[in-house]
Symmetry: C2
Subunit: 406 residues, 2 copies
């Protein structure tokens, strides 16, 4: 008998029929003898509908009152799923964030969980009940309703699994696992059986949209074993766990593609201390997140400074950089939206040298020019002209034989 936390997203509970499908799946696991806690999102579209109502009245809406309104979305789905389970003959009880005491701080709209009253849930589980919990929401020390922000339901699932010391936290989505790369680009891409938290974090932040980074970080911190599965298709999904739990770590786990960035370059800046901060300071002040940063010194003693931002922030960033460049007496400012970032991720890099040069050689053999390089302990990212995006992914996927079982 295992204690399993299952989390279902908005599309998995978007209609009466889908809720019933979820109930059947939960009922099957319950009959198999497992203890189950089910964490739910709002029906797909509901949070946007509520947000629309709120904004029509006050824009931006009062942070406290917005959470009062938004929290209703999950409250509806938990009640409905508990009914669907009872209709399947499975005893069930639903709890809102307040009822199960998901105590959070008071940062409305983006609260952080502080504690969970696991005893109440354990008592219900011991009585043979399935416990259905509203994701995305909590209650602060003053009894105010809070919501946890983007990816909040995943966080609730992971936090619940941590508090209950569950055997596994299963995240049901519309994909059946984490793949070595995007199967739309590489049809032979392979579903990974297992992946480490760190790899998953790199994959998530690099453009694989399966899980929010925040919930993976949270799972890693509390050593909660995650499993990503499809709510529409049977299968074992992908297990996300510690490196110690990997039988044999693959050299490389995946190749990711990010099309959301743009590049800015300041040419011929006098090479003296403080250049980076005098350019990136105003960017940070404007709340623009910077991803890759590269600085080189030319033979003439001046420096070239390049960085990437989200494409949505490109125009704002360009205007700021042009102002800085004049102050710094830079030679020129260049901007480029037509770039992509391709990354190779794998914990095996730690112990194996030469991964980077293999990647560069493979790209060069296809005549692909690399504009920027950035590396970390378990990943290599390159910025390329966007027309090479799919080719680069295929070349790297093939170079590291990712279609084959490790």
């Amino acid at each position: 008998m295992s204690l399993i936390v299952q989390k279902y997203g908005g599309t998995s509970v978007g209609t009466v029929e889908r809720l019933q499908t979820v109930a059947q799946r939960v009922a099957r696991e319950h009959r198999a003898g497992h203890q189950l806690v089910v964490v739910l999102s709002a029906m797909s579209g509901e949070t946007d509908r509520l947000l629309g109502l709120a904004r029509a009245i006050q824009n931006p809406p009062s942070a406290r009152e917005l959470d009062v309104v938004l929290a209703t979305g999950e409250q509806v789905t938990i009640g409905l799923l508990a009914m669907a389970l009872e209709a399947e003959g499975v005893p069930a009880v639903s709890y809102t964030g307040a009822q199960v005491s998901i105590l959070s701080d008071s940062a409305f709209n983006k609260a952080r969980i502080l504690a969970i009253d696991a005893d109440k849930v354990r008592a219900d589980l011991a009585r043979g009940r399935v416990v259905v919990v509203a994701g995305f929401q909590g209650i602060d020390a003053h009894g105010n309703i809070t919501t946890l922000g983007r990816g909040g339901s995943d966080i609730t699932g992971v936090a619940m699994a941590a508090a209950l010391q569950a055997d596994e936290c299963q995240i049901y989505t519309d994909v059946d696992g984490v793949y070595t790369t995007d199967p739309r680009i590489v049809p032979e891409a392979r579903r990974l059986e297992r992946i480490t938290y760190e790899e998953m974090l790199e994959m998530a932040s690099l453009g694989a949209k399966v899980l929010q980074s925040r919930s993976v970080e949270f799972a890693s911190k509390y050593k909660v074993t995650l499993r990503v599965l499809s709510s529409f298709k049977e299968g074992p999904g992908t297990l996300i766990t510690t490196e110690e739990n990997m039988m044999e770590a693959a050299l490389i786990s995946g190749v990711t593609l990010n099309r959301d960035e743009a590049k800015l370059t300041v040419l011929g800046v006098p090479d003296r201390p403080g250049i980076a901060s005098s350019i990136l300071g105003p960017i940070a002040d404007a709340n623009i997140e910077v991803d890759m940063i590269v600085q080189n010194v030319s033979a003439d003693g001046s420096a070239d400074f390049t960085f990437t931002v989200h494409r949505n922030d490109y125009d704002k960033a360009l205007a700021i950089v042009q102002t800085c460049a004049a102050t710094l007496a830079a030679r020129a400012v260049l901007g480029d939206r037509k770039i992509v970032k391709v990354s190779v991720v794998g914990v095996g890099m730690r112990s194996h040298a030469g991964i980077a040069s293999r990647a560069f050689r493979a790209l060069a053999s296809e005549g692909i020019n690399i504009q920027m390089i950035s590396t970390s302990e378990i990943k290599i990212s390159v910025v390329l002209e966007d027309k090479y995006a799919e080719l680069a992914v295929r070349v790297l996927h093939s170079e590291f034989k990712l279609a084959e079982d490790p």
Copy 2:
């Protein structure tokens, strides 16, 4: 400075624009220096939408889980109204039934309020805030969400007013007060300035659909002064209070019409003890409510027994009575759907004799035949053939000069 509880129904908060209208009205009272607690229903249609979802999943739905789902309707409107008030520059805070501790029993779907934590509300009022409270919902001693059943938001308003010892509980509806009779039948019908709880109870149960009887009973028990007003039209509305608070009680307050009943008669039952219970027992067992009951003994020693039920229950009641009649060896069973009940209501009847005979004479003068009569301390009801409905109302309204100021 007064402490006023205002309650708005579903049509008053049915759209963003109407919510804003409510906010403007509340803001105006707030600026006039009053302390305000606002109790809200769900947006019109929302409770039915949620009930539809629930029934599509489980029918009948789990009582506990249905309340979890239904309670979201009011939670949305309180958050939105608090935003609308802040947009108007009025400090406001919303509370669900759980947050303001509207403690109820555990009778899901029809819970009764046991206590309210008025201190929390008083503290907010003292800080200059408008307090917006979700109607229709509470929380039981185990922390389960409950709903109060039909008319529940009115009950919340009255209970809140009682707990806070408010000066007045204002119930905003789509009519601008209680009228001497239905203005669609008698155009010169007059809005009553004041009416007693008892009269209002008779009016409510007799077919005037302004207030649920349960909330009037509750207000009467706790001596909460009620005022019925329109949320769409300015005006003083109608005050509902104790008889002692009436300057000068009118003889008659109103004439009501009820078209929802049907009549059943058992003819020629042997006149012996137990007839009534042998007929009405099976009716009660079938959960059919009986309104008027009349029994007469004929010259031949047999009895005729007549009663009325809701028209929806007529077929069921007729089948039951036909079975009883055979057992009782009754001569015949007659049924009649084409009847109406017209009533004259007024506390003045207590001290004035002859009201009944005046009413009967007025009806006779128009050739209207009376089929049944029933009286209480403050009302006279007659059952008539339905074709006389409007005529009877006009005759009685005119006979007691209800269009004139008292």
